[in-house]
């Protein structure tokens, strides 16, 4: 098969194994005891990525909307699970708000990018919708986890301030405004910071991939800009929705704070 890039054959892939061998030798020489993890990690990298590659090939060939949505739902489900694993709060159930936030923000942003900005026809075209959706999910789940963790920590740490405001007649939104803003900001800052360093500190992964695949760097740049902007949008939207929904759950029916320091 001819392609606009140099394909990696299986024996060349085997050669690349030599690279991980360097790490293995270091582990043996310095008694780091990482050989087992290195071996398992390498095996999983091969297995998981080959499985994904073949799965994507099948999905691309079938070109079926339901199948694309199924894969997309799986990605969002796993991102919710990862968020739950990172946020330690046990007293407030934030699963449903996270699900609503993830579904609304990821779907909206991914649809806008594939259907309107890139203009894929149909909008769910798998080679656009799945990688774009994956990038949205992968990046904004970090923002959600950081934002939620910060919000709960601030509410607990500033419980006295929240109750002071409640007792002066504030409603729960007014009493938690500062914590809400701080959490929203904490969630959004990493994606904004990554816009500052992009192209100076690193060549982003998606752009690198496109360049290696033979795309004109000028075209790859345009895609990368869209990706960076959509991540900022997804981060802001998902953090805003989840914090808006979770905040109400931190207060009882009497607008009394349910979290304690």
């Amino acid at each position: 098969m001819s392609a606009g890039y140099i394909q990696i054959s299986l024996w060349q892939l085997g050669l690349a194994l030599g690279l991980v061998g360097v790490a293995g030798i270091s582990s043996v020489l310095f008694e780091l005891r990482l050989q087992k993890d290195l071996a398992l990690g390498t095996l999983r990298t091969f297995a998981q990525l080959f499985a994904m590659g073949y799965l994507l090939k099948i999905i691309f060939n079938l070109n079926n909307a339901l199948l694309v949505m199924g894969v997309y739902l799986c990605m969002t489900y796993f991102s919710i699970r990862i968020i739950r694993g990172r946020v330690r709060e046990k007293n407030v159930d934030y699963f449903a708000p996270t699900m609503v936030s993830v579904m609304v923000s990821y779907t909206l942003v991914t649809f806008i990018v594939t259907g309107i900005i890139i203009g894929a026809k149909p909008w769910w075209t798998p080679q656009y919708f799945i990688p774009i959706g994956g990038m949205v999910a992968g990046n904004s789940m970090n923002a959600l986890a950081i934002g939620l963790e910060r919000f709960f920590a601030e509410l607990r740490g500033k419980a006295g301030q929240v109750e002071m405001m409640l007792c002066l007649g504030a409603d729960y939104r007014e009493a938690s405004r500062e914590m809400f803003r701080n959490a929203l900001k904490a969630g959004m800052i990493p994606s904004i910071n990554s816009m500052m360093g992009v192209g100076i500190v690193s060549i982003p992964g998606m752009m690198t991939g496109q360049i290696l695949a033979g795309a004109d760097p000028a075209d790859a740049v345009r895609y990368q800009i869209v990706v960076m902007l959509m991540i900022v949008a997804a981060t802001a939207l998902s953090s805003l929705i989840v914090l808006y929904l979770v905040r109400r759950r931190c207060f009882g029916s009497a607008m009394n704070l349910l979290l304690r320091s």
Binding site: Q161, E163, M165, L166, C167, G169, D171, A254, M255
Partner: protein
């Protein structure tokens, strides 16, 4: 005399089983109720229940003849001042702290006091050396506590809930705050005061002893 706050067979449970059992007492309008008892007995919880910062497991609390649940929480709380044991000030000046409640939707109809009125309040609580532009966080604990009392009083509450308001204060601040409590009560303000100290006002309408989950009226 009209009853301002009325606890009717109120029970409350903390996680772990302990709590308050069938608490029954009332405080008349203009009254002063002193609440005492051992640590962890639930004295502060009584005040928190009155302000709906906690919800009872059973029973009803009435304020001015209506169950607490009949009021919108901000409407109820703005009619009660709640002075926490540890004073809490927000970032900013003394003025910004004093005017903080007027930014809340429920208080927007109220006239905002001018600088002269605020300075008058500072003088009244022996904070003459404190300027409105001073940074609130830099005040001493005793000064912060008095600032918190003024902040509550600016809303003209009908009931003042005070949770060991003098426990963190030095002797001078303590006597100023205790004197203020007596003056306010003499002017008609209803007070519920949790106190560990030997604060014994000349006129206390009731003394409530909290122990073993029960509340007993001792005087």
């Amino acid at each position: 005399m009209e009853t301002l706050i009325d606890f009717c067979t109120v029970s409350y449970s903390w996680p772990g089983g302990k709590g308050l059992r069938e608490v029954q007492f009332c405080v008349p309008r203009g009254g002063l109720a002193l609440i005492s008892g051992p640590s962890g007995a639930g004295k502060s919880t009584l005040l928190r229940l009155a302000a709906r910062l906690e919800e009872p497991a059973a029973g009803v609390i009435r304020f001015a003849g209506r169950a607490l649940a009949d009021y919108a929480p901000p409407q109820l709380r703005r009619r009660m001042g709640y002075i926490q044991q540890t004073p809490v000030v927000v970032e900013g000046s003394v003025r910004e702290n004093l005017l903080l409640p007027f930014a809340f939707a429920v208080n927007r109809e109220m006239p905002v006091p001018d600088d002269a009125a605020l300075q008058g309040w500072l003088d009244r609580l022996a904070l003459t050396q404190v300027r409105l532009d001073d940074v609130a966080a830099a005040l001493s604990v005793g000064q912060k506590q008095r600032l918190c009392i003024i902040r509550s009083l600016l809303l003209q509450p009908e009931l003042l809930l005070m949770d060991e308001p003098t426990s963190a204060l030095d002797r001078v601040s303590r006597s100023i705050v205790e004197g203020m409590m007596e003056t306010l009560n003499a002017e008609g303000m209803t007070l519920m005061v949790v106190s560990h100290s030997d604060f014994r006002p000349a006129v206390a309408h009731s003394m409530l002893m909290v122990d073993e989950g029960r509340v007993e009226e001792v005087a």
